[in-house]
Every structure is written in C-alpha cells, then in structure tokens.
Point group: D2
Chain length 308, copies 4
C-alpha cells in the first residue's frame, strides 16, 4: 500500500518510546500504535524530528519503523532525512522493504536559493527511486529553509513520486490558499496537504483547504475531531473543540520543550510507560509538570478524554 495524493485525515507524528535507561521500549511502541489506530488516525509518521530519529543508529531506526509497520494496518510514512544521500538511500530501501507507504524528506539547513531546494529534491528523488512516494517537509522555523509556493510547485511537478506536503510554515495559511489556487488554475497537480507545526493553526488550516493534520499533539483525538467537523462544515463546533485544547496545545508547541510535554502527557494517559527521551533531551522541571497537570485538569472540564 503506497501513499497517494488523496491521503487525508490525521497522520500522527509518533514519538519513539524509550525506557528511562535509553533502551527502546517496544511494548510502548505497540500500545501507542494500537492507540493511534483506535482513535481514528488515517496513517502514521515515524522517525520524524519529534521521533528523535537522529538519536537512533541505523539498525534501531529500521527496527522501530518495522515494528510499527507490522503492528498497524494504516499507511506508515518514515522520516529518512539524513545528512547524506547514502544513509537516506539505505534507510529508504530497508523501510520500503518492510512495508512502509512512503518516506518523508526534510531539506538540509544549508539550502538557500530556490534552485538549490529544487535541485536537492531532484537528487533525493533519484536516490530513493521512482517507485517510492515521498513527502516534502516544509518547516522553516526549525530547518531554516524557506520554500515559496512556487518552489513547492516545481518540486511536485518535477517529481511524479511526490505525493504529500507536510506543511508547517509559520505563518502558513496563505501558503495553503496559494497552493490550492495553483490547483484550481491547473498549474499544479493534486497533492495531499497535511499540517504540522504542533496543530497551532489546524482550525483555520482545514478551512483553507488542508486535507488534515500531520503532527503529534498528545490528544490526537482532538485533531481527528477538528478535521472531521471542519470537513462536515461544522465550523463553530470545530473551533469549540480546538479552542478547548489550545491552552495545552500551545504549551506543548514550545520548541525544544514540546516533546517532553508530549511524552509526559502520553505517559499520564497510559500510552507510554515512560516520558524518557534519549540524550540530549530537555526534561520537564517539577514546576513545568505541575503546569501541565493544571492545564490537563482545566481541559478535563471541557473534554472528558483529558481526565487522566
């Protein structure tokens, strides 16, 4: 099952569960994978930036990806961003053999000009091969590479195996509108747009034409709700659900600290056995944990799923 340009819904960015001593926690991988399936996710992304991918060595990365793929019937996208094409190619071959649906590729931070970005994706597409679908990760805040709508159009047009955009530019609403306008005027073929950036603008992203979410908020049920309600035209209800979660979501979206919040909440929800990150990883102070607890308690008044 390969990923296609009509993918929609919610593809959670799965964290990688670790034991406190740094070993990979396989039982939590299974439990988390099952959880995502049960709450209505339509796919999964593994080994993304929030999946602590660079902290795994090559064999571990393949093992984690394979375990998730075997466990779920959902299409699984694997992050294969790497400092060089040899490692990207090796990992891609291994995970596609294991049954992955696609790979996700972020641009290296050194890229500056439009041509450099387009050229990089052309080379990457050659390395992974024409049969492997890929997802563009557009995340300037962390990657410091800025892609205009026109550059994205060039990448999609040049590479038939580009099927999805993980959109997490910030601000990014006008970019979604621009890409959808390209499609309407016939200058861009159909492509799935799923939004990241912690979900901070998911309410409006759906209204602008996004197909859903591709991010890791610790209550992905909310993401599923917002995408569904928005698609059903229930605008006020979509915003109501979103707004109730926004105080916590905003807290989780802090750069560098967000993963610690996410894992802590997923631990409190019983999905992960531990909130451990591999080194180097910023843990939560006691005060920060108490703040998250307070936000959960307040959220629980609006959303019973948060009563953990």
């Amino acid at each position: 099952m390969r990923l296609t340009p009509d993918a929609k819904g919610v593809f959670p960015i799965a964290p990688t569960p670790f034991h406190p001593d740094g070993r990979i926690d396989e039982a939590s991988i299974d439990r988390m994978t099952d959880f995502y399936g049960e709450i209505g996710a339509t796919g999964l992304t593994v080994l993304g930036i929030m999946g602590e991918a660079p902290k795994l060595d090559g064999a571990e990365a393949v093992a984690v990806a394979s375990r998730v793929i075997r466990r779920t019937k959902l299409p699984v996208v694997i992050g294969v961003s790497a400092p060089g094409f040899a490692a990207m190619g090796s990992l891609t071959r291994a995970v596609m053999d294991a049954g992955a649906a696609a790979v996700m590729i972020a641009p290296p931070p050194s890229l500056r000009t439009d041509d450099q970005i387009v050229g990089y994706y052309a080379q990457a597409a050659e390395v992974i091969g024409p049969d492997v679908p890929f997802v563009i990760q557009d995340y300037p805040l962390t990657l410091s590479v800025v892609m205009t709508p026109g550059v994205i159009r060039r990448i999609v047009t040049d590479n038939a195996n580009c099927v999805m955009l993980k959109h997490e530019d910030w601000p990014g609403l006008e970019k979604i509108s621009a890409l959808r306008a390209f499609q309407r005027d016939g200058s861009l073929r159909p492509i799935s747009i799923l939004c990241g950036n912690g979900g901070l603008f998911l309410d409006f992203e759906c209204e602008r034409g996004a197909d859903g979410a591709n991010t890791g908020y610790a209550f992905p049920e909310m993401l599923v709700d917002v995408v569904r309600l928005s698609a059903a035209g229930e605008r006020e209800r979509a915003h109501d659900v979103f707004d109730a979660h926004l105080p916590l979501l905003r807290y989780e979206q802090q750069p560098g600290l967000g993963l610690a919040v996410r894992k802590y909440v997923m631990m409190r929800r019983g999905i992960l056995a531990s909130d451990a990150q591999r080194k180097p990883g910023a843990g939560l102070s006691a005060t920060a944990r108490a703040e998250v607890d307070f936000l959960l308690e307040r959220l629980g008044r609006h959303d019973p799923r948060a009563r953990v």
Copy 2:
C-alpha cells in the same frame, strides 16, 4: 521620571500609526496613547520592533517618541536599537531630552558568544551614559541571539543602569524561574521582568515571577486583567480570561503577519484610523480579515470588550 527596577504591570508595545499613504498619523498616536492610559497600562514602549522603528528616519523617530511622551503621564520606554552606536547615541539623547523614562536595546544578530553579548551591552551602556536607564530585549526568535540566565546576570551586574528585562525567549518559563532564583540566592540584584512574545505564555509567566507584560496584543485590557488577577492569587480567573483570548492572541502572534492583525483589530476598535503599515509591510488578505472577524465575534461571547 526615570524607569526603576520595581516597574510592574503592563507596558504595551505601541504600534506606530500611519495614514494609508505612509505619513505618520498623529491623531491616532494621541488617541492610542490616551487609550493605553485609560485601560490601566503602567507604562508604554514606543519604537519597538512592532513599532516599525526601522521604517522611520531619525527625525520621525524623535517626533513620534516626543509626541507620545508629551501626551501621557506614564513612563515611556523608547527602542533605540540601531546598527551602530552613533545612531543609538543620537536617538537616546534626543528622546531622553524629550522626557523618556528609559531606552530599550536589542542585541545585533551577529553576536554569538557570551562574551560578545556582555561586551556589546557594556559598550551600549557607555554610549547612552550612566544616567539613562535601559531595558534588555531578549528575543532569540527574531534576533537570533541567545542569552543564558547567566549572561543576563552579567549584564545586570556590570551595568548599574540596567533596570528591566523585556523577556521574550521561547521557551522562556524556566528562564524567569532561574533569574528569580538568582535573586533569592543573592547573586542578582532586583530587576523588573516584563514579558513579550505576544503574550503567548503570560498566564504562566506571571506565576513564574514576571512583573507583568511588555507586548502589544490588540486587547491590552486582557494583559492588565491577567497580571492583576495573577498578582491577587486568582489563578483560575486569570487563566479563564487568558484562555478566552488565546485563539485571537495566537493568531496575532504569527511572525511577520502579527502587526497587520494587531493594527486591523485596533482599527476595528476605533483606536487607529487605519491599519496601514509603511512598506515593506505584509497586509492581510480578505480571507485573513474574515478569520480575524470570526475570532473577534467568538471572543465577544466571552469578553464584551471584543464586541466591536
């Protein structure tokens, strides 16, 4: 009236009002200045990054600052960040002569090491002179200069005229805690900490020990409420007020686009005659304006002040 380390409350970051043709709108300056006084601001900051300071020439900058200073009884802080010390010195002398309470200084983006940052502030402090109080602007997202708590302590210790930190690191809650811990252990003298970053974490910043807000959200009344309620120990009420505004506040905090949102809302509130920015300035699309209108309408259900 010079700024002192016991400043607290809300110092709004004032935008600079323009007519649609780019001229400075003096009537709107007066109306805005009066408005800030009426809603309980305890000070004002003019010519900050969101004040479009680099778009004014030297004479205009002095004129805008002087007009605000004459109009209000509140202490006024003037942003004097400049690519060189000659311009910083000239502007400082002019605005202090006009009655400013202090100046605010951001580090130039080229600074990297701890010693470079500390050295820059030592030179800047010499340029403005020992009688002029100054505010450190700590805003890594935009300025790409990262100051540890230890570096801030060195700057405060080295320069007796450093009286305030405009804190807008992100994430930044632990930094407030660290600085307040320095004060408790006697290694840092008292300093005012007012928080920026659009107010996105003001609810918890107050709880961590901040003295208030120094940001420009278009409903500064909410900032005043949160600071007051938090100081009074009314934690739940402070969060209730904050959470009601968070969907709009989050929309306004988009980098590059935020000022357009802020000016648009202030225009709809009747504070500014126009939401014009000087070139280059990102305007709002029709869709974005409709989104802001929608957020205002939803906010108005919780906060009657938003029924504009």
Copy 3:
C-alpha cells in the same frame, strides 16, 4: 555625472578616517581622496561595509559623502544600505543632491527566497527613484543572502536604473561566467561587474569577464595594475603582480580584522593620520602589527611602492 553600465577599472572602497578620539578626520579624507585619484582609480565607493557606515549618524554620513564628492572628479558611489527604507531614501536624496554618481544597496540578511530578494530590490528601486542609478551588493559571506545568476538577471531586468554588480560571492568565478553568458545569449542587458571580496580572486575575475575591482586593499595600485594588465592580455605579468601582493592581501582579507589591517597599512603609507576605528572596532595586537610589518618588508622586495 551618473554611473552607467559601462563603468570599468578600479573603484576603491574608501575607509572612513577617524581621529583616535572618534571624530571624523577630514584632512585624511581629503588626502585619501586625492591619493585614489592619483593612482588611477576610475571611481570611488564611500560608506560601504568597510567604510564603517553604520557607525555614523545620518548627518555625519552625508558630510563624509559630500566631502569626498566635492574633492574628486571621479564618480562616487555611496552605500545607502539601511534597516529601513525611510533612512535609505533620506540618505539617497541627500547624497544625490550633493553630486553622487550612484548608490549601492545590500540586501538585508533576513531575505531567503528568490522572490524575496527580487521584491526587495524592486521596493528599494522605487524608494530611491528611477533617476538614481544603483549598484547591487552581492556578498553572501557577510550578508548571508545568496543570489543566483538568475536572480541577479531578474533584478537587472526589472529595474532600468540598476547599472552595476558589486560581485563578492565566494566562490564566485562561475557566477561571472554565467552572467556574461546571459549577455551573450541576449537574456541580460549590459551591466558593469566590479569585484570585491578583498580582491582575493581578482586575477581570475578579470579573465572571467569582470570589468574591474571594487574593493579596498591598502595597495589599490596593485588592483589598477592587475585590471590594466589583464585587459591588455598580459596574463603572466598580471599574475606576477597579483601573486607578489597575495600574502599581504590574504592577511588583510580576514573577516572582522581586515579593516584594522587596511587602516594600519594606509597609516604607514601616510595616507591616513591614524588607523583608529570607531567603537566597536577590532584593533591589531602588537604581534599582528609586527606580522603586517614583516609582510610589507617582504612585499617591498618585489614592489617598491610597499617600501614604507
């Protein structure tokens, strides 16, 4: 006399002479201006990055530019790069009124995409007005903005008053070849290309099609020689002259330190009364001065002009 696209030869980047106490040294400005005229410069650039432009306030900048313009019959280009268009416009009007031949505009470091760069120059060209010729400064090492040959072509094509490229990309030889190829294939109108970057590749830049040099090496006579010999087809002699100077030129080209070396050598040559820079400015250690003296002594064996 306005600058035109057929400018060639050597336009030295003039430093701004200061007294040790930071005041502008007008006698040295005059002596330096005369010197440049005598050694065969074909133009002058004032208030460039190496002219310590940001350390001057607005009135000083106009005064320095005007003094040079009055003193020389050569065309004078004035650097007007500024954090905002208001200051750029004011300075441009003042120096053009004073008789400048053109202005030079560097892109602000925040620009990333091709469209952002092209858009910036369109706005700047509008601010200075269609009658003012301008020079693009393409200097990625310091400005962190990367312009492809295609982007430069778009800027030149969009703005009839763009007459020169100050080329200091690194590496940059292929860029000169690419731009000249654009001209041969008819896709780019004629434009002057003068090279900066301390002159480190001037020997080959001339052979690739550059029209000359636009940099500040303390022995601009060498730049004049290399441009002249290269234009005359005296390849080996051009390289001989260049190579003799390369050890010192390389020493002068150190980022952050180069201006101190340049001013020190110009002081030893009797052109400047002092090698002082305004704060903040990196001075030379005693060891560094001795190293420069040693290089001068060695250079003097090949080039009698270096026997100072």
Copy 4:
C-alpha cells in the same frame, strides 16, 4: 597507539577516493595512504568534512577508516561527528576497535551559548567513553558555532580525553596566542593545536604557537616544509615556500569548490585515479580546470614537485 597532547607535525585531512560511478576506490585509498606516509606526515585524519563523510553509510565509513588504519603506521584520527549520539557512539566503537588513535568531533550548528557548547562536548565525551582521545573541531565558517578561547579551555579542563584542537577559526591567529597564554599562566593543561582552514594562515599559525597542520591541501609536502622550517627558526624560508604555493592554496580553499580542486590536483599528481565526488558534489568547469592547470604550471617554476 592513542593520540596524546604532544602530537605535532602534519595530519593531512584525507579525501575519500571514489570511482566515477560512486563506488569507493580502494586502490586509491592505499596509494594515498602510502603517499602521506612517504612525504613526512605524522598522522592522518579520515572522514572529516572534506572526506565526504556524510555521503557514506555506516558500513562504508567503518570500511574506509579501517582500510587506512591497516595500511599505515601513523596514528589515524577518525571524524565521528553525527546528528545524534547513537551514530557517533557506534562509529567510535567500530573505529577504535579497528585501531584508530582518536576521534574528531565537530559541534552541531544549533549550538549558540557557551554553556550549550561545553555541555555538548561533555555529553559527547561520555558517549565515546573516557578511554577514547578526542579532537575538538573549531570551524565557525562552516559550522556556525563560535567558541571563545575560554570555552575551549573549559572543554579541555572538563574532559581529560580531549587531546587536540583542530583550529580553523577565521580569523584565528589571536586565538592561538590566547590559548598558549592560558598554558603559560597555568590555567590550561597542554594540548596539541593543529591548524586547518585550508592552510591559508599556516605561515603565521606556526609562529603563534601551533604544533602543525591538520588540513588537506593537495601538496601536503609544503605543509610539512613550513612546519619544519618554522620549528627550525628558518622564518624567511618558511614564508618563501608558503608564498610560492599561496596562489594555488587560495584557489583550493574556496568553500564548496575546494574539494573538487584538491581531488583534481591529486589526480593529476597520480595519487587518486579519479577526481570523482559522490553526489551532491560540485565538479570543476573546464575553465576552472584550466585555471588550476595554469596555477600548477606557475607553481612548478618555484617547486619542482608541482611539475605534474
């Protein structure tokens, strides 16, 4: 044989030889390794930035390192910089088992504050283990991490297994003087300083107290000569040798292009069978090759080793 703080001489940065089709060229590895031994190198560094390390997958990296180690009696340093500690640890264990003398670690580009840099090296030192000597790579131009002399002193002091600094700051002469002054005042224990940055300042770096060179210039014989002559107090002769090579060395030191020049010259010298780089790699244009040929011909008049 583990690397110790009294290492001196020339440790060439070895390129990784490839066949034109991208396969590793093992015969050239052997020939190159022998060559370095014959011309007086005192050690070797493999898998550095100029060794195209990120283009190798994990198994290839170990294979290349092991082949060099087996082939030579010189101490071999292996670059193990990686985006995460898991890969760094795996590669370190493998190459130390294979007989490496030490590993070299560059800081990731995201580090900003002094404490972040010091903390990173503490974690890296823990990952590789106390028995593995390591080399700090200090290369701000490419890595955008700026280390003060004080930060280097903290890293050396905190980690007993730090034995060498690969110094390639630019400008960097004062940094060598500062570190040696720390040793004289007793605040820093002995450490080897070998200089990189293409050798562009090796003439003075030796005089400032460096122990030698750690760079990849295609005529490492010159590096050996300069280090030897400088150590012997033959200052003028050291500079004569250096100056003769400077036009070519400067050409080879172009960022992004330098490796292509280096491999081309090593191919012309018969050391490498091909100048191929793995993708993505900037090749030389015909014009650039002709320029290198011209420089070689001119160099051959002074140094018979360049008559290739």
